[in-house]
Structure formats: structure tokens, C-alpha cells
Symmetry: C2
Subunit: 207 residues, 2 copies
């Protein structure tokens, strides 16, 4: 009992967060009651409320946690030598279930809630902005090194890439039978076609 004893019932905060993520994923934020979260976490309401002051506080904690995860991901993307390659690799990990990312599952739910809860909205916007800036840096670098057509408008490309990402996550949630993980290479090729400079290897190819 020094300090590292933990096995069966570890950090209660963690247990609540994991339980909440499971419940919210299953039934949505407004669709899950505190009692359900308590049951999932094997904890009474009284105990739970020692760790979180309210239901809202739980979502905010989840998003806050996701923030650091996203930051690491973006770091990795910025340092990758191949922009689209790194993007599709991320997609593959995400959709095969190799990597867990809460926002992939809860994205729309959180987004919807953010429109109502000001405190959550602030945090959500920050995470969103951080990701956008990071993505922009990675894109500009890819354009500078010639991987992505330098003639393309970065704003438009960013909107498109974000839309594709959000759209795939949504679809993954709506129809989980779609083997998105396996399709990522092909989808990546499509994105490459969209972004790569026109093939100037042999022909000048006007009109």
C-alpha cells in the first residue's frame, strides 16, 4: 500500500470519464442520465459529485482531455514528410479502431451541445482553432515543397479537408458496417488527385 496499488478500482475521476464517454457515445449527451453514468462507473451519485460539480463539467473535462491528444496528432502531422500520406494514415488508424479518439465518436454530439453551452463553446472553439492553424501550417509546407499544388487556395483546401474529415467520421458513426479503415488508401488516392500538381513530367498539357 505504498502508492502504486491500483489494479481493480483505480482513479475514480478516470472511471467517471470513461463511463461518461461510453454512455454519451451510446445514447448522446441529453440521452444519458447521471444515474446511468453512475451505474456504468459503479459509483453512487454522491460519490460522483465529489469529482465533478455537474453534468456539464463532465463533457468539458472530456473535451479538455481530447485537446492534448489532438495536439500530439497535429504535431505528428506537421513533421511528416508526406502531407496526404500522414492524413490517410491518421484516417486508417482512426477507422480501424487502432487509435481511439473520442471526438471521432462524439464529434456531432459535442458540436451540438457546444451551441447551447457557452463554457463548452469556448473550449470547443479553442480546440478547433488550434487544429485549424496546425493543419494550415502543414498544408503550406506541403505546398512549399511541391507536394500540393501551390496554385490552390489554402483556405478552400482547408475547408475541403476539414469537411472530408468530419464527413468521414459522421459516416463512420452512421453506418459502421462501411469498412472505412480499409478504404482509406483509395480515399487517400482521391485526395492526392485533388491536391497534387498537375502531371508536368512529360507534357505541358494546356487545355
Amino acid at each position: 500500500m505504498v502508492a502504486l496499488a491500483t489494479a481493480p478500482k483505480a482513479d475514480p475521476r478516470r472511471r467517471v470519464l470513461d463511463a461518461a464517454i461510453a454512455c454519451f457515445t451510446r445514447n448522446g449527451f441529453h440521452g444519458t442520465s447521471m444515474h446511468e453514468i453512475c451505474a456504468e462507473a459503479s459509483m453512487s451519485p454522491g460519490a460522483l459529485y465529489r469529482y465533478f460539480p455537474s453534468k456539464d463539467a463532465i463533457i468539458i473535462a472530456i473535451v479538455e482531455e481530447e485537446r492534448t491528444l489532438r495536439a500530439r496528432l497535429m504535431e505528428h502531422l506537421e513533421s511528416a514528410p508526406d502531407f496526404v500520406g500522414a492524413l490517410t494514415a491518421m484516417g486508417t488508424q482512426l477507422f480501424t479502431g487502432e487509435m481511439e479518439m473520442v471526438c471521432a465518436e462524439l464529434g456531432p454530439e459535442i458540436a451540438a451541445e457546444a451551441m447551447r453551452n457557452p463554457a463548452l463553446k469556448v473550449m470547443f472553439d479553442e480546440v478547433e482553432a488550434e487544429m485549424d492553424q496546425s493543419m494550415r501550417r502543414a498544408l503550406l509546407a506541403a505546398q512549399a515543397r511541391g507536394e500540393v499544388d501551390a496554385g490552390l487556395d489554402p483556405d478552400a483546401v482547408l475547408v475541403m479537408i476539414n469537411a472530408i474529415g468530419d464527413g468521414l467520421m459522421l459516416r463512420n458513426r452512421l453506418s459502421p458496417e462501411l469498412p472505412l479503415g480499409e478504404m482509406m488508401p483509395v480515399l487517400g488516392d482521391l485526395i492526392r488527385r485533388m491536391l497534387a500538381p498537375r502531371t508536368t513530367t512529360a507534357t505541358d498539357a494546356r487545355s
Copy 2:
């Protein structure tokens, strides 16, 4: 008072549906109470329940209504001579607000609710399947006429197009300050780059 007198307080069913759409868009399905819908429709609960047996029935009616609208849209897309052009035109109408489409606003909300409500799920899936089949036909036709690269996997292209559509709608809702309507031409060009056959005017271009 023959039969066509209607101006101020017309068909109560319509009033309820419009009120519900407004409320759901503002506060989400679980975020709006029946009393709010009643207030928005200037109607008492007692009156409202004469037209809809439950809150669930209201969403189902909304989706049912959207079904015919979508069907018309898809008809138009299938008969268009230019697949990507028709797609971007639809996007422009949608994001400039020229055309109203409930699912554009309520999409994620409805999708989330569909995962919980079996009756809604059935209808949602049907609408989704109809749209997918229509889109597939339009895509295959575009490939046949050489507008879209015939070498591309239709399944992958469909997933991609659906994702882009869903993603743009989501983003339009999350950050309405983005001028998506004006960006559509540029975004359309990106999609064209992705789908158009590689310029084979002069070269055979293998590998």
C-alpha cells in the same frame, strides 16, 4: 369562408411542423420541450396533441417530408449534363440560403436521434438509401460519358462525395460565418480535379 380562407392561421399541422423545425434547429431535439413548440406554433398542448400523438411523431413527420424534397433534388441531379457542376450548384443554393433543406440544418441532430429511435431509424435509412442509389446512378452515367474518370472505384467516390456533403453541412452549422456559398465554385474545382480523367489529350500516360 368557403374553403380557401387561410391567411393568418392556416393548416395547424404545418404550423406545428414549422415551429418544431425552428425549435429543433435552435436547441436540438432533446433541448426543446413540447411547451416551446406549442409557444412557437401559438397553440396549446391540447391542440397540438390532436395532430401528433407524440414528440417522436413530429420528427418522423419532418424526415418524411424531407424525403420528397430530396427525391426531387436527386431527379434533377441525375438528369443534369454535368455531374460535378450540378453538385456544386446544389451546394451553392444550399449554403447561400436560396434553397431551404431541413436536413442541412438538422442533419446531425436527426442522425443522432435515429440511433436511438427505431421507427425514425427505419425512415432515415430509407431516405439515405434512396439518395445513395440516385447518386450512384448519376456517378456511373458521368463515368460512362467521360466526365468522371472511368478508372475510379465508384464506391470510394460515393463515400468521398457523401463525406464532403455531410462535412460541409456540419461546418456550415458550426461556423456560419464561413462564406461557404461563395466558396462553392472553388470547392467545385477541387472536386473536379479529383474526379476528372487525367489529361490524356496527347500522352498515353501509364504508371
